[in-house]
């Protein structure tokens, strides 16, 4: 239980701190292991010991040979998709967030539909879309059905962050701007958007990473091409070699880069606000 600074910490603190550290080890340990194993030597296997080190598995990944699919193209496709999904998630969620500031007919229904989309077993969403396209005689493809399927996953998350951000927004700033003669667009561009910007970056981050890693909703809806998670899935069901770990390392590095950029941006935005220049 929390005690004031200066007071001795209770015994339970140390027990829980130990538990928490074990939890972090549980979360990061396996990731660290595949990171190390991806540099496994050429004769090494899927586990320790490391038999030398090499970049062979990364080279295989890039060389686009053997039983693997075309990983570099899948990576590019996944990144393109993630950027698009992220941009759409931001635009749709911010717009909807503004809408939800007023009561309107169907607001509750729309909100609960979004929540339902979040908790729906993902395979069903992909299945339903694939089925619908099939019955209507359309072809499923990456940027139609695939994108739509991913949006059903990214939008509910984005919406929640938008609500949390816009809910905290002080309407008096906006009212002041109106009184000074600002148009609706000026109010949005010059007042609302800068204030909710950290939340918007958060939405963009969720949109990007959730799309980039999405598998179960994409599986049946991306058509003939593969995104990166689908390539990984194909690899796990086919032969398993340290190439899989190399791929894991590459995609985790991409996720970390995006995460770092987002956190740094949010940090900079918050700092600029608390310390006006």
């Amino acid at each position: 239980m929390m005690t004031e600074p200066g007071q001795p910490r209770p015994k339970s603190f140390y027990v829980l701190a130990l538990f928490f550290m074990a939890f972090l080890a549980f979360m990061y340990g396996p990731m660290l292991v595949i990171f190390i194993l991806s540099f496994q030597g050429e004769n090494g296997g899927m586990s320790f010991p490391m038999i030398g080190t090499s970049l062979l598995w990364f080279k295989q990944l890039l060389s686009n040979t053997g039983r693997m699919g075309d990983i570099p193209s899948a990576l590019v496709r996944s990144l393109e998709m993630a950027v698009l999904a992220s941009a759409l998630t931001v635009a749709i969620c911010v717009s909807a967030g503004l809408a939800f500031r007023r009561r309107f007919l169907g607001a509750g229904l729309l909100f609960y539909t979004a929540v339902a989309s979040l908790v729906m077993p993902s395979l069903f969403v992909g299945f339903g879309i694939a089925l619908g396209f099939k019955e209507l005689g359309w072809k499923t493809s990456l940027f139609t059905s695939g994108l739509g399927a991913q949006l059903t996953w990214t939008l509910p998350f984005g919406l929640m962050i938008t609500f949390a951000t816009i809910g905290r927004f002080d309407r008096r700033y906006e009212e002041a701007a109106t009184d000074l003669g600002a148009s609706a667009w000026q109010r949005f561009k010059d007042i609302i958007l800068p204030i909710i910007m950290p939340g918007v970056v958060g939405v963009a981050l969720f949109g990007f990473t959730l799309s980039y890693d999405e598998f179960p909703r994409s599986q049946l809806t991306v058509g003939t091409v593969n995104t990166l998670p689908l390539e990984i899935w194909a690899m796990t069901t086919a032969a398993i070699s340290p190439v899989l770990f190399a791929l894991g390392t590459v995609t985790t590095i991409v996720s970390f880069l995006v995460l770092t950029v987002a956190i740094a941006t949010i940090g900079a935005l918050v700092r600029r606000r608390t310390k006006p220049a």
Binding site: F19, F20, Y28, A99, L131, G132
Partner: protein, 305 residues
């Protein structure tokens, strides 16, 4: 997850500032239209398709519009159905229990034991980072750990806890559960932290001054006041576990199958109508379970209050 409350506050503020020009509801409709459109096209309509097709007839070549109950009759008369559901429930109950305990302890430590705000945020971010990396890779990362020649077995052998490598670690229920807990615990931590951070610290101080020990405080104050978070986290973990098929498939080595695994197999065989019927049945089961959770804890009331 204070959405409803924040929605209420925001809506209240909006009423006070009625704009000139277009009526507010029309502006809201236009602003919400893209969201509604995407959800209608890619979520609501597909679900309706699934329900409709579950009554269809089919053969190797095509689906034939019909209204027949054969697909459902087959589900309820097949002995496999019960087995699949029992397996899914078994996973769900074990994972639910583990994630609630771990999630609660982690959230409790972060909220009530970590003293400074910056440490709390830092540690919370540390917990959250893996959530932003690929689930598929996180699942795979257990293989070198749990395999026959994996790290855990090396440790077990080195410590002479067993003479032979343990075989139950990988490609087993054990591996499946470890991966579920690994991937889903954060979905429990986040809502519980959110609930706990709203508990008035003065309440805790008052209880302590009145002579309550930590166990009493946890039992009588912290748990009752974080019920909402626990319920939301439980609902998320439950739906994710019940809806999974790839973790079960890969980490059980194809030995175990849940309900969705079976549906996925039917889909790969293009048996759409029976797959649709199974989906509808599972969906109803999930809806009932989630509403039971939300019945026990009135999430909406607690969020608004």
């Amino acid at each position: 997850m204070t959405l409803t409350a924040e929605l209420g506050v925001a809506a209240g503020a909006a009423r006070r500032t009625q704009r000139r020009g277009w009526p507010g509801w029309l502006v809201s409709w236009i602003q919400a239209a893209p969201l509604a459109l995407v959800l209608l096209t890619f979520f609501v309509a597909p679900l309706i398709f699934v329900v409709v097709v579950s009554f269809f007839d089919y053969d190797r070549l095509a689906l034939y519009p019909a209204f027949m109950l054969d697909n459902y009759v087959e589900i309820f008369t097949s002995p496999i159905t019960l087995k699949l559901y029992l397996k899914t429930f078994e996973y769900a109950v074990i994972v639910e229990t583990l994630t609630v305990v771990i999630g609660f302890l982690v959230a409790y430590f972060l909220t009530f034991h970590v003293r400074t705000f910056s440490w709390r945020i830092g540690l919370l971010v540390a917990c959250t980072i893996p959530f932003f990396t690929s689930n598929m890779i996180r699942m795979i990362s257990w293989m070198p750990f749990l395999g026959r020649e994996g790290i855990l077995n090396d440790v077990v052998l080195a410590m002479k806890l067993s003479k032979t490598p343990l075989d139950f670690l990988l490609f087993s229920d054990f591996a499946v559960i470890v991966a579920y807990v690994h991937i889903l615990t954060m979905m429990m931590v986040a809502p519980i932290v959110n609930s706990m951070s709203k508990i008035d610290k003065a309440l805790i101080a008052a209880a302590r001054d009145a002579g309550a020990n930590e166990c009493q405080i946890v039992r009588d104050i912290v748990i009752p006041l974080s019920k909402t978070g626990i319920a939301l986290g439980s609902a998320l973990v439950l739906t994710q576990t019940m809806g999974d098929y790839f973790i079960v498939h890969v980490l059980s080595g194809g030995k175990s199958a849940g309900v969705v695994t079976a549906i996925s197999t039917q889909l790969n065989a293009f048996e759409y109508p029976p797959a649709a019927a199974s989906s509808v049945v599972l969906l109803l089961v999930v809806v009932v379970m989630v509403s039971v959770i939300f019945r026990i804890v009135d999430v909406r009331k607690e969020l608004a209050g």
